[in-house]
């Protein structure tokens, strides 16, 4: 029996060194986020939605039990978000399997005060001083067997006429985004994603996808 215990202890020591689990508190990318901040060709976002693909086929191990989405802003005084959802589809499919609420400060329709130094420490917000906002952590990990689309609808108001996102960078990583007029956050389970024309475009607002 002693031999068995010794074997277990040896195994534990070996695997303790060799394992690939994430050390608690370590920030790990779930997919390749955006590189250089460009903020080029931002449109007026009032009344528009941005829909951003997070491909399951791009996810990197190790797996995480939580997911954090980070938005990047490079201009504007306040971003008024009408709604945010994360659509889950089968890989490479266009039917929504599940629409998941995405929140900031526990609300799906936050007003982000970009002029506040408590929200954006480097003022004023610009390409040189981008403001990265972490949305509320989602209590599930992303699966390589699914694709995910983050949809953000910007309310039709004057604040959103002058906001700009950090993206459209030359190094989009694994993320792709496209903008559509109207609220694209209301698709129900079983519904189809909107059609779009632009592919391989870096998203404007989603900067990073991490574990926390």
């Amino acid at each position: 029996m002693n031999i068995f215990y010794k074997l277990v202890v040896s195994t534990l020591m070996i695997t303790g060194f060799a394992g690939t689990a994430i050390a608690q508190g370590t920030l790990v990318n779930q997919t390749e986020g955006q590189g250089t901040i460009a903020s080029s060709s931002n449109q007026s976002w009032d009344g528009y939605s941005e829909v951003i693909l997070i491909p399951g086929a791009s996810l990197m191990g190790p797996k995480s039990a939580t997911t954090a989405l980070y938005l990047g802003f490079t201009g504007g005084a306040e971003a008024d978000i009408g709604n945010m959802v994360l659509y889950q589809t089968a890989r490479n499919a266009t039917s929504v399997l599940r629409a998941i609420k995405v929140t900031l400060g526990a609300t799906q329709s936050p007003h982000i005060d970009l002029a506040s130094s408590s929200v954006c420490p480097a003022q004023p917000v610009s390409v040189s001083n981008p403001c990265i906002v972490r949305l509320d952590t989602l209590n599930f990990g992303l699966s390589p067997s699914n694709d995910y689309y983050l949809a953000i609808y910007f309310t039709l108001d004057t604040n959103n006429e002058s906001i700009s996102g950090m993206g459209a960078s030359a190094q989009p990583g694994a993320l792709s985004g496209f903008s559509l007029y109207g609220d694209q956050t209301q698709i129900k389970d079983g519904g189809g994603l909107p059609e779009y024309e632009n592919t391989d475009q870096a998203p404007f607002f989603l900067a990073y996808v991490a574990n926390q």
């Binding site: 195994t11 491909p55 791009s58 990197m60 890989r91 490479n92 694709d147 592919t199 391989d200």
Partner: protein, 210 residues
């Protein structure tokens, strides 16, 4: 001392159950095909050649490799042969040839009209049928490149109406091309056909450890 061993045993067991690194899960080895796909039809007599660059491999554990093929049209895919060529990174000279199988066969016929094979029938570009091949007993490593060749039987009416996935998004690490000859019979020392491999591949969707 015995108490320490017992405590260690319990810890080890709890660790093994909870830690993802202990069990092989379906993890990507490279960035696969992303986003919606289109359909490209008529593949009889063609070899689809897909490159898995060693330079794109993610450092995940796993001693086997699973290839996933995507189909978008047709009722049956008749594959004459499937093989994986290994080359040194950046070289086309073959250093190893590994058979690739589905259901234990290198020349499977895939029933795309069966809901047990393709859960959403009728398959289409919106509902592609993703078929996982048998795990190939090879661990892909960074100093090598790999070329998956799938040769579709020539003069076959099923393959005339066969549709495979064609990427619309190009943000993948996979590269590929095709040619109208059987390129699945090459031996060690021969060269993978020089097809450019500048585009995203048809057919091959993902490369995973499970």
């Amino acid at each position: 001392m015995k108490t320490i061993f017992k405590f260690a045993t319990l810890t080890a067991m709890a660790f093994a159950v909870s830690m993802p690194g202990f069990t092989q899960q379906n993890e990507n080895r490279v960035r696969g095909i992303v986003g919606p796909v289109r359909s490209n039809t008529s593949w009889g007599g063609d070899s689809v050649v897909s490159e898995v660059p060693g330079a794109a491999l993610m450092p995940v554990l796993g001693s086997t490799t699973a290839f996933y093929l995507g189909f978008t049209a047709g009722v049956q895919a008749d594959i004459n042969n499937m093989v994986l060529y290994t080359t040194r990174r950046g070289s086309l000279k073959i250093t190893a040839v590994t058979p690739v199988t589905l259901g234990g066969s290198s020349n499977p016929s895939i029933d795309l009209a069966s809901s047990s094979v393709c859960p959403v029938v009728e398959i289409s570009a919106n509902n592609p049928c993703i078929v996982r091949l048998d795990p190939t007993p090879i661990r892909l490593v960074a100093p090598n490149d790999y070329y998956l060749v799938v040769y579709f039987t020539n003069g076959d009416s099923n393959n005339s109406s066969l549709g495979v996935t064609a990427p619309t998004f190009l943000q993948t690490s996979l590269r590929g091309s095709y040619t109208d000859a059987d390129e699945s019979q090459l031996a060690v020392g021969a060269s993978v056909p020089s097809l450019g491999f500048t585009g995203a591949p048809f057919l091959l969707m993902y490369v995973m450890i499970d």
